[in-house]
Every structure is written in C-alpha cells, then in structure tokens.
Symmetry: C2
Subunit: 114 residues, 2 copies
C-alpha cells in the first residue's frame, strides 16, 4: 500500500475551511515532488485510490518529520501560509509526505489522526 | 487572478481530518485535469501562490456546479468516498473546480466559505 501523509499543526488555530485548504496545499506540493522523483510509486498510489492520511502535530513535529523525510529521501513539502487571512504571513501550517510505501512511513504512527 | 474552488458537502457529517482529505482529493483531481487541458493557466496559478477557496454546499449544489463546469469546459473533479470510514461507499463528498480565472468563477459566489 502506498499512501500520502499530511500533518496539520494542532498548536495554531485554523478553521475547518482554512485547515482543508492548507492540507490541499501540502498534498499537491508533495505530490508534485514525488511525481518527478518516483513516478512508479505515484502510479501505484493512483491505482490504489490515492490514500491520504491527515495527522496532527506541533510545529516541532512538522520540523522533525521534514528532516526525517529529507534524510530518507522521501519527497515532502512544508506549507507556509501567505497570511492573507487568520494567520501571520509565513506561519508554517502543514507538511505533506509522499506518496510513499506504507512500511517507509511507520514512524509517523506516533502522531494522532486529525 | 487564477484560483481553484473546492466545494464541500455540508449536508453530510465529516470530521475535520476527513473533510481535509476529501478536499485534497478534489484539489488534486481537478489540478490533474487542468494541467492537461490548460497548462498556461496552471503556470499562472502557481506563480500567484496556488490560491484555493473552500466553499460549502448541498449535494444538489455539487451536481449543479459539476454540470455548470462541464458546460463551460472548466476542468472539474467530483470525489466519491471509498467508504472505508465514516461514510457509505460511493458517497459524493467534494467537487474541485479549476484552477480557472477568477472572472469565470463568479457564479460560485452564491456559496459560503466553509
């Protein structure tokens, strides 16, 4: 199974629509990177229904998992908000990881579902 | 300004994470269609920060806007949930429209922000 993980900051206040838009940013950003780096994984992910899992974490969790993904060469994409609404410009909101094989993503299981 | 609209059903019950994942499905699905049909619009959208607007509507709204987008030849993507969690299989959850030029999307202004 191939899946994409999106981690949302739980330590800032975002409404439901804002959260959804930031998750979509992270998902698309990580997808574009993965599409270039591992088109075979993307094809597998697409054939399996493009599973996306949305988790929650602190800013520290997002930074740690970004470094972890970089070290493992898993495509990832960190989103900073443009700051037009609700948040200060540059606020980190979400992190998209993969699509990647399930077994490579085990470490993310320490985080809870949003 | 080029933007992407995602409409979320307000007449079914979905948690915050579920909603975010369904919005990401719609966003990515509509993006892929638009990428093939209008790569120039996509480039403009990317240069402007990939604006995404998340709105809410009924199932009827989603169906109507899907037909409206088809008639106007605006790329769009309707999401049906696989039904592993929370919803019955095949339940329509979200509709992604565009990226498309702002002025082509005026009709969506009858819907409220999520």
């Amino acid at each position: 199974m191939v899946k994409q993980i999106i981690i949302v900051r739980k330590d800032i206040k975002m409404g439901k629509g804002k959260t959804a838009a930031q998750v979509a940013h992270a998902s698309l950003g990580a997808y574009k990177k993965a599409k270039k780096l591992s088109p075979k994984l993307i094809a597998e992910w697409e054939s399996e229904g493009e599973k996306k899992v949305v988790l929650k974490g602190t800013l520290e969790d997002l930074i740690n998992f970004k470094q972890w993904a970089d070290a493992k060469k898993i495509p990832s994409y960190m989103v900073s908000d443009a700051g037009r609404t609700q948040l200060a410009p540059g606020t980190v909101t979400t992190l998209g990881i993969g699509p990647e094989k399930d077994e490579e993503l085990k470490e993310t299981k320490i985080l809870k579902l949003l």
